[in-house]
Amino acid sequence: MHLALFIIFGLLCLGGALNLLLQQHPINSALSLIVVMSSLAVLYLLLGAEFLALAQIIVYSGAIMVLFVFVIMLLNAGLEEKTRGSRAAYLAGIPGMLALFGVLAGTFFTLRSSFGSARLGAYLATTHDLAQVLFRNLLLPFEVTSILILVAILGAVVLARKEH
């Protein structure tokens, strides 16, 4: 069950990410990113992170991606133009991607026995556990991030406002 769900949603993730890479139109990239984020939420659920799975759906696929789609429609973004820079980027990007993936995956694969394995339902971090750590040990960082959000709201309004 766990294996089947992992394979289905892992492949959906990979397919969505590759589609993001290959699509020329930003709106198609945005929609495939929503697929990636929603499948990641299922993977979080499999790993026993129920709160994060819901936060992923609400914050990422909900709020952030709606913002992206909204900006794409607002700016009427069309097809990407091919430029001189893009050829150099292809030459550097694809071998770089393969090299990075090779190094990371090779490391994880050689260390695979020390990571162990995840069984469905063996570990579940409840909202209660999260709140214990978040509001007791990490209260100051939590408050600082709320200030960060406030600054970000003000910054976004100031930057996007029309100048008179």
């Binding site: 990979l14 992923q56 393969l98 930057l159």
Partner: protein
């Protein structure tokens, strides 16, 4: 039936590499911004996998903070994109080169 944690980590590595590649290849500033979000998501998956491995919630708290910072970053970044589009009337990063020598 159990799934090795290493598979989750390899999936996370694959998503991160695709994000890096998209960051380099894409010419549209919004697509570049979306590939940054993809990389953040890949790292989040690694955090959750490690939280499961060590049975500690600290990894999940970290993901929570990454989500908050990503939301703030998306709001400010998209506002900057709108401001750039207003002044330059383009979304192509090759044409936004005022600071290039």
């Amino acid at each position: 039936m159990s799934v090795p944690i290493a598979w989750y980590l390899i999936l996370s590595a694959a998503l991160f590499s695709i994000g890096v590649c998209a960051f380099l290849i894409k010419r549209n500033i919004i697509s570049i911004f979306m590939s940054i979000e993809l990389m953040l998501n890949a790292v989040n998956l690694a955090f959750v996998a490690f939280a499961n491995r060590w049975h500690q919630v600290n990894g999940q708290i970290f993901v929570f903070f990454v989500m908050v910072v990503a939301a703030a970053e998306a709001a400010v970044g998209l506002a900057i994109i709108i401001a750039v589009f207003r002044s330059r009337n383009t979304l192509n990063v090759d044409q936004i080169d005022l600071m290039k020598l």
